[in-house]
Symmetry: C2
Subunit: 259 residues, 2 copies
Amino acid sequence: MLKVFPIFFLFLQFTQLLQADPEATNMSLKMVRVLVYGGRGALGNAIVEHFKEKNCTVVSVDLAGNDHADDNIALDLKQDWAQQEAAVLSKIDGTFDGIFCVAGGWAGGNAASDEMVKNADLMWKQSVWSSAIAARIAAKHLKEGGFLQLTGAAPALDGTPGMIGYGMAKAAVQQLTKSLAASGGGLPKNSSVVALLPVTLDTPMNRKWMPDADFGTWTPLSWIAEHLYDWTTSETNRPASGTLLKITTSGGVTNTENH
Amino acid sequence: MLKVFPIFFLFLQFTQLLQADPEATNMSLKMVRVLVYGGRGALGNAIVEHFKEKNCTVVSVDLAGNDHADDNIALDLKQDWAQQEAAVLSKIDGTFDGIFCVAGGWAGGNAASDEMVKNADLMWKQSVWSSAIAARIAAKHLKEGGFLQLTGAAPALDGTPGMIGYGMAKAAVQQLTKSLAASGGGLPKNSSVVALLPVTLDTPMNRKWMPDADFGTWTPLSWIAEHLYDWTTSETNRPASGTLLKITTSGGVTNTENH
């Protein structure tokens, strides 16, 4: 036994080394290819850059191009939902290991606000149109065993009286996640879909608009980008398909809670 | 004590008689006025007719007019969400005791279906546009202590893989109900909002398309209409504001479950 131990230990170390650097093992055999819907936003850009650092091929879908991406697909705001879907699908070929939809925005307004419907319309287009089109791309171009990520919002697990349109759109995305994960949802075999439900992300725009907030309670973009890479390249590390993953950060430490 | 009993008993009977016929008491003092959004559909028409039988004033909002209604507001399908909101609000004056949104429809499609986005767009317009505009009408024209009803769907409490657009729209309406019921949602003081979540309603159209179904498991339109009248005319009988009221029918008997 005394002789076996060191050899086993060495083997374990070697295995861990391989796991710590996926590019050195199975990932060197096939190029990881991902699509980022909303690749020009703050979070989208962080994801594009992280996957490029990991030598992946990245397609960005957004209103404007992302110079770090290998390919860009431009959205046309004048098109309606079905036209936008058709235009995007017509420009995509091949398969993806991961598809991430991080398009979205924020606008407030309760039922007494004259802005409510206008803002609800904007939120629906930014979050629900993008998520539904990402789901359609996934149905057609995600690999078997691939990973689809959508973006919900932790507050939309309950009522959001001061931001009614935002809450409705995020609730729809969250229910879409449950539909896609269920049997018969239309995604490729063994694929997973997870919605991330952050509270506040640490973006330049949020720092600009909320300069006095405690940034230690905001989730770093790098946390999201690194976890998306992890979940895309390892099926075993992923949250269960259909998970609404509430993400909270406190004192700079980020934790998750499954819903 | 022997002499007091019969008098008390008589008084009790008299009180019960009054309660059983609200028109004979407080309802005769003020005319009950309600608005039915989707008043030309099967459920909408049942509601319009029931409230007219109870001598209420009824305003119907729909694509076409309902001859039983006192007033009709015609929707214009060519208008976008905000235009439709502005047009409807411009045609409404006075206050309402109850506002009921029973507009909606059904269309299927999972993520693999080429119809998914087209159908999701239709479901969104039929259910979410109408519910949001009904919420805006309520914010401006519902009486203090008034009753707003929206229409969700029991299956949308979870994933709906075979009817993705329908599920997203209904999930949005259900989250809207929670937002409106919360403090700061913008509805008038002491008003209530409840979403009804039926499984299948016993409508002529459903009988036509599902002729072999067990109609004893379908909820009668009269059950909805009678309960809406009850909840509008009595604040104490209502489900708590924010309730998602799942409605199931079995063997012709209808039961509810709060969510």
